[in-house]
Symmetry: C2
Subunit: 269 residues, 2 copies
C-alpha cells in the first residue's frame, strides 16, 4: 500500500496520533505529532487532515491541532467510565461531606491506576491524582486495592517489574508487597501512608460489579499528620464503597462482612 512499507494499519497509526496528545494537555502542531507518533510528516499531515474532516480532531486558528469535541463526546457519552462515575458520584459526595478531603475513584488500566472521577474540598490537602490521569499501581491506595483483586498474571507482572520508589515509604520489595496485597484482600481496605507523596495518606476500598468482580476502587486522600489519624476514615470509606457496589448490582454480604466485622482492623501499610 505504500512505497516503502512499514506494515502498519491505518488504525495503529491513528491511535499513535491520538496518544501523542496523551502526554500534553493542549494542542500540537503537525510536525510535533509526526515526531511523537513516529510517522513521516506527509503521513501525519494526511491523517490529521482526515481526522479533522471527521471531527475527531480540531484545527485551531493558528493551525495547531487538538482533540475534537466529537471524540470527547463519543468517549464520554458511552464509556464505562460514565456508568461508574454516575453511580459513584452521589456516594462520593456523601463521603466527601463526611471526610472533607479528596475523594476519588479509579480503575485498573494495564499496570496503572486510571482515575475516573475526583471530588476535592476547597481547603483539602495536596493530591497527585487527576481525572483521566494515571498513577502506578504499587504506590497508591487505589492501585493496591485493584492489584490485590486482579488476576494472578497481572500481579506477577507488576511484582516482577520495576517497583519505583516514589518516597521512602513506597513498598518496593516484592515479598512485602505480596504480603500487603494479601492483607488488602483480608481487610477489605488499605491505608497507603505517604507512598507516593510524603505529605499524603491514601485510603481505598474495592467497588464490585454485578458479578461481584472488583472493577474499581474508591479512595480518600488525607494530609499526613500522624499514623493514628487516617484510621478514623475507614468505616465511612468502606460503607461508601459498598454503597456504590450495591448500586452497581453487586450482592454484598456474608464473606465481605465477616472481614470488616470479624477481624480487628489493622493498618495494612
Amino acid at each position: 500500500m505504500a512505497r516503502s512499507t512499514s506494515g502498519e494499519s491505518v488504525l495503529t497509526r491513528t491511535m499513535r496520533i491520538l496518544r501523542a496528545f496523551g502526554t500534553v494537555s493542549g494542542s500540537l502542531t503537525v510536525s510535533e505529532i509526526s515526531r511523537r507518533a513516529d510517522l513521516p510528516v506527509a503521513t501525519a499531515h494526511r491523517l490529521v487532515g482526515e481526522l479533522v474532516e471527521l471531527g475527531a480532531l480540531e484545527r485551531e486558528p493558528d493551525k495547531r491541532v487538538r482533540i475534537g469535541y466529537q471524540l470527547w463526546e463519543v468517549a464520554s457519552r458511552s464509556s464505562p467510565a460514565r456508568d461508574l462515575s454516575r453511580t459513584a458520584l452521589p456516594y462520593m459526595e456523601d463521603l466527601q461531606v463526611a471526610v472533607r478531603e479528596h475523594t476519588q475513584i479509579g480503575v485498573l488500566e494495564g499496570t496503572d491506576v486510571l482515575y475516573l472521577e475526583r471530588l476535592s474540598a476547597r481547603d483539602a490537602g495536596r493530591n497527585v491524582a487527576e481525572i483521566a490521569g494515571r498513577l502506578p499501581v504499587h504506590a497508591t491506595s487505589t492501585g493496591l486495592v485493584l492489584l490485590a483483586h486482579s488476576p494472578p498474571e497481572l500481579q506477577e507482572r507488576v511484582l516482577g517489574g520495576e517497583l519505583r520508589e516514589h518516597t521512602r515509604h513506597t513498598v518496593t520489595d516484592p515479598v512485602r508487597l505480596r504480603r500487603l496485597l494479601a492483607a488488602v484482600r483480608r481487610d477489605g481496605y488499605v491505608i497507603a501512608s505517604r507512598m507516593i507523596d510524603p505529605a499524603a495518606v491514601g485510603l481505598a476500598a474495592p467497588v464490585r460489579d454485578r458479578e461481584n468482580r472488583v472493577v474499581a476502587a474508591l479512595s480518600v486522600v488525607v494530609p499526613f499528620l500522624s499514623d493514628a489519624g487516617p484510621q478514623a476514615h475507614v468505616p465511612v470509606l468502606v460503607a461508601a464503597a459498598r454503597g456504590i457496589s450495591r448500586a452497581m448490582g453487586a450482592r454484598i454480604s456474608g464473606e465481605d462482612m465477616i472481614h470488616t466485622r470479624g477481624h480487628a482492623p489493622r493498618p495494612s501499610a
Copy 2:
C-alpha cells in the same frame, strides 16, 4: 482496495463505528454496530477487532463491545472540554452555592449545544441537559447565548432550518428569534423561560476566551414558579461567567460593563 468498492477511507468507517455508540450508553454487539454504522458484518468485525486490539474499544466477557478506557482517557485528558471545565468548575461551584440549582457550561457543536460540565444540587429541580449531551440551540438559554455570538452563516443556517417547538414557549418564528438574539447580545445574558421543559427556566451568560471570542455559555436552570423569580439570579450568573472569562485570559471591561450596568435589565424571553 476492496472487492466491490465503497470508496471510503478506513477512518470514515471507524468514526461511523464510534458514533454508533453515541446514541446508546453502554455496549453493542458487532452486528448492531454493523447495522448502525451501515457496514458489512465482516468489515465491522475486522475493524472492531483491531480497535479492541488497540484499546480504543473493549470487549466485555459476553463479546459485547464498548468504548475503551484508553479512548476515554485520551479524549478527556487533552480535550478543549477539559481546559474549560477545569477553569470553570470553581466558579460553577460558587454559583451553585449561591443559586442552589443546576449549573452547567456548554459549547456550540454544529447546530447543537454540547454540555461539558454540570453541577446539580441535591434537591434541585428537573434538568434535561446532561454532560456530553446535546440540546437544540434555539430552545435552550445556553444555546441562545452561543447562537447570538456565533458567525452569521451559522445563525442563518439555524434560522432557516427547522425550529422545533418543544413547548408552547419555544421561539420558532425566525423573526422573533432574530430579535431575541439581538437582545441577548445587548443584555449580555438571556432568560429562556420554559422553552424546552415547561417546568424549567434557563438563564445563561457568555464565557469568552483570550481573544474575547465567546467560546462557551454558563447557565443556571431553575424551576418555573413565576416569571418574576429567575431575574434575581442574573447578577451572580453574569459575575460567574465574567470570572471564568477572566480566568481564561479575556480582557473584560468597558463595552460589556455598559450593557449590564447601563441598561435596565429586561427579560429577554
